[in-house]
Amino acid sequence: MQIAARPSPGWVILDIAGDIDLANSPAMRKVLLGEIKEKHTRKVFLNLKNVRYIDSSGIASLVEGLKASRDNGARLILYGLSNSVREVMELSRLQKIFEIYDSEEQALAS
C-alpha cells in the first residue's frame, strides 16, 4: 500500500493505492489520525480509486478516522470506491455513515 498526500490550506487529499489489510492498515490509521488530530485538517479526502482490497482492520481504521473527525469538527470524505471496497462497506452497513462520492470533482464540490 502507498499513501501520497496532496495538501492544500484547510484540506488534504490522501491518495491510497494497493491493498489495505492487517499488514498495513496501522500505517493508514496513523496518517489519517495524524491529519485529523495533530494537523487539525478540516477536510480529509480519501481517494480510494486505486485500492483493490480492504479488510475489516482497514474498515476499523476508517471508522476511527470518522469518529476522530466528528470529535474534532472535521470532515472525512471518501471517493472512488471500487466494487470490492463498496461491497465491504455494504457488508459493514457503513455506506450511509460515511460521506462517499463517486469522483474527486464531486467530493471537492461537497
Partner: protein, 157 residues
C-alpha cells in the same frame, strides 16, 4: 454424506501479516479454477483473509512465525445434489482455543472499530464450522457454486 472432493491446494504459512496478500492472490486463482463468479470469488478471498487475520491476532496474539495451514478442496457434488459443487477451505492453527462466545460477531448497529471480520465470513460463506481437535483450531468454510441456469431452447424447437 460428504460430497466427493479432491485436494486443490495446501498452503503452509507463518503467522505474518505480510503473507496475507500472497494467500489472497493464490485463493483468487483457485476460485477461478472452480469457476466462481467474480463476486463469489471476492467473497471467498475476503473470508479466508479475515479468518487468517483472526488467527494471527487472536489465536497467536500477534506473534509472528507460528504455523498456519490452509487446505482447499474442490467439491464435485453428485448427480442428485448439483448445488454441492464448490470449494471447501479448512484453516488449522495451533494457537489458543477460540472462545465460542466471541465467535458470534457483534451487532452492526454499533458504529465502532473492530469485530467485523467474523460478520464478513458468516455473510459470505455457506458453511462456517469451528472445532478444536488435538490441540488445534480448525475452521471449515464452504462456498457452493450457484446452480447453473438451464439453457434456453430457441423458439420453434
Amino acid at each position: 454424506m460428504q460430497p466427493p472432493a479432491e485436494l486443490l491446494l495446501r498452503l503452509y504459512l507463518e503467522s505474518n501479516p505480510d503473507a496475507l496478500c500472497m494467500v489472497r492472490a493464490t485463493l483468487q486463482r483457485a476460485t477461478e479454477v472452480v469457476h466462481f463468479p467474480e463476486a463469489d470469488s471476492r467473497a471467498i478471498v475476503r473470508s479466508v483473509d479475515e479468518a487468517l487475520a483472526n488467527v494471527i491476532r487472536h489465536a497467536y496474539k500477534g506473534q509472528g512465525g507460528l504455523p498456519i495451514e490452509v487446505t482447499c478442496r474442490r467439491l464435485f457434488g453428485d448427480s442428485e445434489r448439483k448445488s454441492s459443487k464448490g470449494l471447501e477451505i479448512v484453516l488449522s492453527d495451533a494457537g489458543i482455543a477460540a472462545d465460542p462466545k466471541k465467535l458470534r460477531g457483534r451487532p452492526l448497529e454499533e458504529i465502532r472499530p473492530g469485530g467485523l471480520g467474523l460478520h464478513f465470513i458468516k455473510q459470505s460463506m455457506d458453511v462456517v464450522e469451528f472445532r478444536r481437535k488435538n490441540g488445534r483450531n480448525l475452521l471449515r468454510m464452504v462456498k457452493y457454486l450457484a446452480p447453473s441456469k438451464p439453457e434456453e431452447k430457441p423458439e420453434g424447437d
